[in-house]
Symmetry: C2
Subunit: 221 residues, 2 copies
DNA sequence: TGACTAACGAACCAGTTCGTACATAACTTG
DNA sequence: CAAGTTATGTACGAACTGGTTCGTTAGTCA
């Protein structure tokens, strides 16, 4: 997520709009993810930047718009990762398992993003709803998923009555919960869902769960 | 969650410690769930009460302790619901399905609780960790779940390698995600996971998923 | 019944927080 | 290189916010 490279310049006033803007976004992402929207302090974000609070208002307009910009960039990262998804050459079962694994890995790799999503939900997705940019992006992975599901159903492998959106919800829920709720879960049940040595266990568990669900014998129904 | 009954008394100063305390907790629960910890305002909580801010500090000590008290009460509600769980007379498959349904229903019925859990996770479960009361309560349902799982495995019905805690995570994740992330999910994918007409679909989906996972044919492994 | 205490209310305070007014320096372009 | 534009830093303030101070009243018990 850190996209600012140090130009290793001496200090003194430098004019580099792109760098300043990107640096503010980087710091703001960390700060909002750490403390929540209301918990985050504009002064604190500015202080961790090589520029001043003035620039936050100059480039983004205010705290609210800054948070929206943070969300927009965070979502664009997933969209990009999804577009690189290459599973259509696999058979349906392997493709879905791969999709689940990619989702799992992405959640694990971006805990800050998970926190931002939690925070945005506490605010009833007000910023996403207001953002034109976020309204336009669907999810590139959904179409791929839809095609795989159709192929799996046509070949008789998949029996479950779900569409791509439902399947996405099912996969995401497990990945999301494991990262987002690890603190309360750990405190209450004494198990760290994100412990490194459990990683493979949960990754396999997710894949098994999804495939078992999709391919379950429903002849008794 | 609303536990304060109106005594229908005329106004003027009344002395009722229990009522005042409970009313503060009720209002604080709503307010924290609505705005998050930092977003919630002590003045606002007081204003929505029939008493004053002074009483919040008198009874709870401060904002932080008030939030902890809110969490403690919210968790005690589930613990109680879990203790009323009566599934051990059912066969393993029916028992687990029932467990999943009860969890599903509880999440749906208590969206405020879900929000509080999200909020607490943003704060790294600091309050739960600090609370003695919350440290003591495990989860009464876990032992029941463990017995069912063992019975299912002994009878050869269940093949999955999971314990009660993992199963609880699996079930909770779907129920939690559906409620907690409904706003961002709805905004991005145009589907309201909590729409009334979809309720049965997702409730069934959860049960099917859990049972399919637990009973999947693993002879090929 | 009168003294004591738990419960309560109004006003206030000190520190914080978002946002802005003003000044100025660094590039760009004619 | 002069004039204009873009980018940047400093200082400040009005409103808010968690927490407290001080005083009062309702219940209760010797």
């Amino acid at each position: 997520m850190t996209s600012v490279e140090e130009p290793a310049r001496p200090n003194g006033r430098i004019r580099d709009a792109a760098r300043t803007k990107a640096e503010i976004l980087d710091v703001a992402t960390t700060e909002f993810a750490r403390a929540g929207y209301d918990g985050a302090r504009v002064d604190e974000i500015a202080a961790r930047t090589r520029t001043t609070k003035r620039m936050i208002y100059y480039y983004f307009g205010g705290k609210e718009q800054l948070f929206t910009a943070v969300l927009e960039r965070a979502y664009s990262v997933i969209r990009q990762a999804e577009q690189e998804l290459d599973v259509e050459h696999l058979d349906p079962v392997a493709a879905i398992r791969r999709l689940a694994e990619v989702t799992f890995d992405h959640h694990e790799a971006h805990p800050d993003f998970i926190r931002l999503v939690s925070i945005e939900n506490i605010h009833d997705a007000a910023h996403i709803t207001a953002s034109e940019e976020l309204g336009r992006i669907g999810s590139p992975a959904l179409e791929v998923t839809g095609r795989i599901l159709r192929a799996g159903r046509e070949s008789g492998l998949f029996t479950a009555d779900v569409d791509a959106v439902d399947l996405h919800a099912l996969i995401s829920s497990f990945c999301f919960f494991r990262v987002a709720n690890r603190h309360t879960f750990g405190a209450l049940f004494g198990r760290d869902l994100t412990a490194a040595e459990q990683r493979e266990h949960y990754r396999t568990m997710l894949g098994d769960m999804v495939i078992a669900y999709l391919t379950a014998d429903r002849s008794a129904d």
